[in-house]
Symmetry: C2
Subunit: 218 residues, 2 copies
């Protein structure tokens, strides 16, 4: 085996839990960071960071989120499940510290919006968007799957509405160029990155050399 | 509603399918990019890019991958499901174009390793790693869940082994600092980014001001 360090299950088990959490949370690479806004039956708002929002399909438009096991009360999960609607808001560099702070364990009844200094903006959708976000969407609960291996929940949602504050970030072919929205990427539990455009490739075909694509058509 | 552009389901349906695919594949933000290596019963190797590898748990160490609907034969899926083992290999800038090219529809019997110029490296694990990768892991099939809303498959795997070619990328607290491995992030279907370190935050607590953490302890 080539140079470097090799680890196996015996190593994983011997590590202190915090070390193991950092290692495996960062192992699979960069993730997106979005704020999930929900409301309970009384209309009290909740806001929490999610690193696990993932594309599931474009037609119909679907995404997924992972929720940790229900061993403690999870306001975001119970609100979203019972009310059926939520908003997702991309985190950009100017709101990163406020977004991260929403992870603190505020008691029920305290809105993370107020606690951290972000603002709910009510439009036609049932759940407010984060006013400071550059990209927000309204989503609807579709289904949940319990991952038997560790009791985490995999939740599928459909995308009802999308609001993009800087429409110039939508390229001619429909790609949302997230660096134009200053969207961040996250690694592990607490480490934020600014992704810089590198390369765009054409569709890969057998027996054709791979070509780079222009970032935009002009 | 604030300035910007607003889209709803009627807009989504009216878009050309390629535009819609680009839009929704990029909507939720940055993703990781890994190469999944598998082998069929004859030992023939397959290599394919995955943007959907996600952290599921640290103890036991679990991750997930999304597979598209089984409407055509998917060699990676059938190999991984039948043989029970695979390797995942993080994509860095020097191998990005070769990694992207593995997505071309090579016929069964053609190894994407040979076709694109990457090399299988056999160690103790049943499936070879990509020799050129800076981070590789051996994974084992745990379970699959069919997402009823669009027939995609959510597959859970356990992490058996990890090889890191540049051990200096593992920080003192266990975080794998992916920019030291030149790992890329991807947006949409074809757009690659180099994430640059921005900020690391301390654990968020109620009634305490959020602090930035040093990237490393020294």
């Amino acid at each position: 085996m080539k140079e470097g360090k090799h680890f196996n299950s015996s190593d994983f088990k011997a590590w202190p839990s915090r070390y193991r959490a950092n290692f495996f949370n960062s192992l699979s690479g960069f993730k997106s960071i979005n704020l999930l806004a929900t409301a309970n039956a009384k209309g009290q708002l909740n806001l929490a960071p999610f690193f696990s929002v993932q594309h599931i399909g474009a037609n119909p438009p679907l995404l997924s989120l992972i929720f940790r096991p229900e061993t403690v009360e999870r306001h975001s999960l119970s609100n979203f499940r019972s009310q059926g609607k939520a908003s997702l808001n991309a985190v950009h560099s100017d709101i990163a510290s406020r977004a991260h702070q929403t992870a603190a364990k505020y008691p029920e009844g305290v809105s993370e919006f107020e606690a951290v200094g972000l603002h709910p903006e009510k439009g036609d959708f049932e759940i407010p968007f984060v006013a400071e976000a550059h990209l927000s969407m309204g989503i609807e609960w579709v289904s949940e799957y319990k991952i038997q291996a560790n009791n985490t929940l995999f939740v599928v949602a459909s995308i009802c509405e999308v609001h993009i504050r800087k429409p110039e970030a939508i390229l001619e072919d429909g790609l949302i160029e997230h660096s134009l929205l200053e969207s961040l990427a996250v690694n592990g539990l607490d480490t934020y990155y600014q992704p810089k455009p590198y390369k765009r490739f054409a569709y890969a075909e057998v027996d054709k050399a791979l070509k780079e694509k222009a970032w935009t058509k002009d």
